[in-house]
């Protein structure tokens, strides 16, 4: 296969990540240790899963604000089913679920909520911002209803292993995010649907006139975003060994930040999964570094916001040249 010419502007996030890592290594003895780096990787794995889906959504020119809430609901469903089984009141029906069964059902729930988002957007022409904003509160409400407002705790070692266990020398969440990244990079570059996602965001009308079933592709993309939020939900729940009803609050913002820092255009059509992964890495290293340097958590938020602005401004200047 012919090597594509590498565009230097796409490398910017990577250069920024490397510079930050080098700076941190010099400022803190603890940063470049194996434990700490795995720690960072584990911390960003949830954001990576969500952000991969978010990247696809944003590439089509949309946005998904509901991922944090979907994450909470799927996490709660998985924990509840695993711990308490499926109980349907009034019918005297009780079905116990295995861990695998609970996970599958939870992911189906994630896909369903994503499908609902997609349906509102494609069929009823609700703008993505509004449709997913509505889902943000719907899914949060469902989580509260399902958990009655209390965490579902003590899920046991098997479930916990997904979040805290190690496999072949690497933490499980890191493995899971690597699988998510690989599959999605392959999908975006080697399948028709992947190409259509770029085309739709680049010029939706041209895509329609080229015979692309734009609505189907969009529906699919929101379903994937729902599924990946579901995986994120499993990771969070497993790591904490409990499903918190207010888990994932504000995660949509971290995720959008990772996508934007990674160089994906919010107007769609331009960007990449790898860019987003690097973006998530930058946020992760920043969070970790600021903690290591004993910067107050309040300042951390301010700094994170400034970094997002800086990333976008640099990107703009680069494009205008």
């Amino acid at each position: 296969m012919k090597k594509q010419k590498i565009d230097i502007s796409n490398l910017q996030p990577l250069i920024a990540l490397i510079l930050m890592a080098v700076a941190m290594t010099m400022m803190s003895d603890h940063f470049a240790t194996k434990d700490n780096l795995f720690n960072v990787a584990r911390q960003i794995s949830v954001n990576i899963c969500i952000s991969v889906g978010m990247t696809m959504v944003i590439l089509t020119g949309g946005i998904d604000l509901s991922v944090g809430s979907i994450l909470a609901f799927t996490g709660a469903v998985a924990a509840g089913l695993f711990k308490n089984g499926l109980e349907i009141e009034g019918m005297n029906l009780f079905v116990g679920t295995t861990l695998f069964g609970a996970i599958c059902i939870a992911l189906v729930v994630g896909v369903f909520l994503g499908w609902f988002n997609g349906l509102m957007i494609t069929k009823f022409k609700v703008p993505p911002f509004v449709a997913t904003l509505a889902m943000l509160t719907i899914a949060r409400g469902l989580t509260m209803l399902y958990t009655k407002g209390f965490p579902i705790t003590q899920l046991g070692g098997q479930f916990n292993y997904i979040g805290t266990g190690w496999f072949l020398g690497m933490p499980m969440p890191v493995w899971i995010s690597i699988v998510v990244i690989s599959v999605s990079v392959f999908f975006m570059n080697k399948t028709r649907t992947g190409r259509y996602i770029y085309a739709i965001g680049g010029n939706e009308r041209a895509a329609i006139l080229s015979g692309i079933k734009v609505n189907k592709v969009k529906l699919f993309v929101y379903m994937i975003a729902g599924a990946l939020a579901g995986i994120g939900g499993l990771l969070v729940t497993a790591r904490l060994d409990s499903a918190q009803p207010n888990a994932g609050m504000g995660y949509e913002l971290d995720s959008i930040a990772a996508v934007v820092i990674g160089g994906t255009s919010l107007s769609g059509g331009k960007g990449s999964i790898i860019g987003t992964v690097i973006g998530a890495g930058i946020i992760g290293v920043l969070n970790n570094g600021l903690v290591l340097l004993n910067v107050s958590p309040f300042w951390q938020q301010v700094i994170k916001g400034l970094v997002i602005l800086l990333a976008v401004i640099i990107d703009k200047i680069q494009k205008e040249k």
Partner: protein, 508 residues
Amino acid sequence: MKASATDKAIIEARKITKQFPGVLALNNVDLRVYAGKVNAVVGENGAGKSTLMNILSGVYTEYDGELLLDGQKIKFKDTTDARNVGISIIHQELQLVPQLSIAENIFLGREPLTKMRTIDRQKMEEESRVLLSKLELDADVNGKISSLRIGQQQIVEIAKALSFDVRVLIMDEPTSALSESETTTLFKLIESLKRDGVAIVYITHKMNELTQLADFVTVLRDGCSVHESAVKNIPVDDVVKLMVGRDIQDFFVKQPHVKGDVRLKIENMSMKKSGKSGKYLLKNISFDVHASEVLGIYGLMGAGRTELFEAILGLHPTRTSGTVCIDQKSIKISSPDVAIKAGIAFIPEDRKHDGLVLNMAIAHNISLASMDKILKNGLLSANLEQKQAEMYREKLKIKSTSSSQSVAKLSGGNQQKVVVSKWLATDPKILFLDEPTRGIDVNAKNEIYKIIDDLAVEGIAIVIVSSELPEIMAISDRIITLCEGRYSGEFARAEFTEEKILHAALPQ
């Protein structure tokens, strides 16, 4: 040849040069505009007329050369700047807000205020009424723009221009969407503006308007000003020759080819307007196209040319009725992908808006409508895609650095060739082209004509819409005309004359 030594130009452009990515739009262009005269600027599409007007009116501020106002050098920061010294432009595409009223449009952005800093509606409406009565437009100043006909909207634009102290009024092909009676009204209006000493810059490519209306003429060709004189000093035929540079027949020769069987048959195609008005954009249109035939469709703006293509492509299935037969088989086209599978390809009028994904590579744009062809075991093959792109790059001579270059960086003509490649890759039986040479330079135009002709020889049925009569007459075997959404005439190649076709296309 100078106009007259005694006349002094209000505004003068000297050696204006404007470069767009990939195109030199204007090259050392000179223009003089005189008060109380109609100064016509003529030239083919793509000759640079609109670009020059956009510079005169402050739309484009980056250019080489200089503008002189009353003999003084001047440079506009923006359109407001130009308007403040009395230069207004009425674009071909009217710049009104359809949802606002006539008065609100006339004073948009500079509404008169009361002492309370709220909008002084009374004053606004009063002044609007005065303007409209001066222009003899009988309409309610509180009525919405969307309720007016195009000709009336244009008069509102003129009212807007007059509400400034206008010294120079630029009109970009103002009659392109007007009926004959509306045109007469407009011409009367122009005469009275002339008497008031307003300088009119009048862009057109209609020769009868030149003789009827204009005092001076400047001819642009391929971005250069090639002639400037009083209209009475030059015969119309010479103007035409100067515009084209050569006769269209001289450089494009249609190859002989035999018409095949009927490929596409459209019967009683109608399309309603969206919304509940129940009005029709297209009404009972029927025609057919044979293999190896080039069918031209001619009509004025708003005649329903583009709508006809959209209806056939299945873009508005709920509003469309009528039957489509391809190779004698009736087919229900409910969306563009069905049309593509049935062998229809569509090259849209606005390639940037409808034809291309600008930030995508040439190769990716070419494969977009025929992805099946570059799949290997169900996955995209970069290798096959590359090969396909290289094949078209060579076949259609797409000037580019490589097939992975993004199409945004190509010139108009080369972008159009990418669109053509995309559709050829779908192996079409029927090719629809909507204004295929708009905004591209003369050489690229010729190449596109040649490509169309070659495709017809290969057996593809071709339907082409163009608003340029010489163009459509040169490449078509047969022309049908549309007028206000209805079929209004048909001409075999032997019967082609500009007058007959134009007459059939004009509202009666």
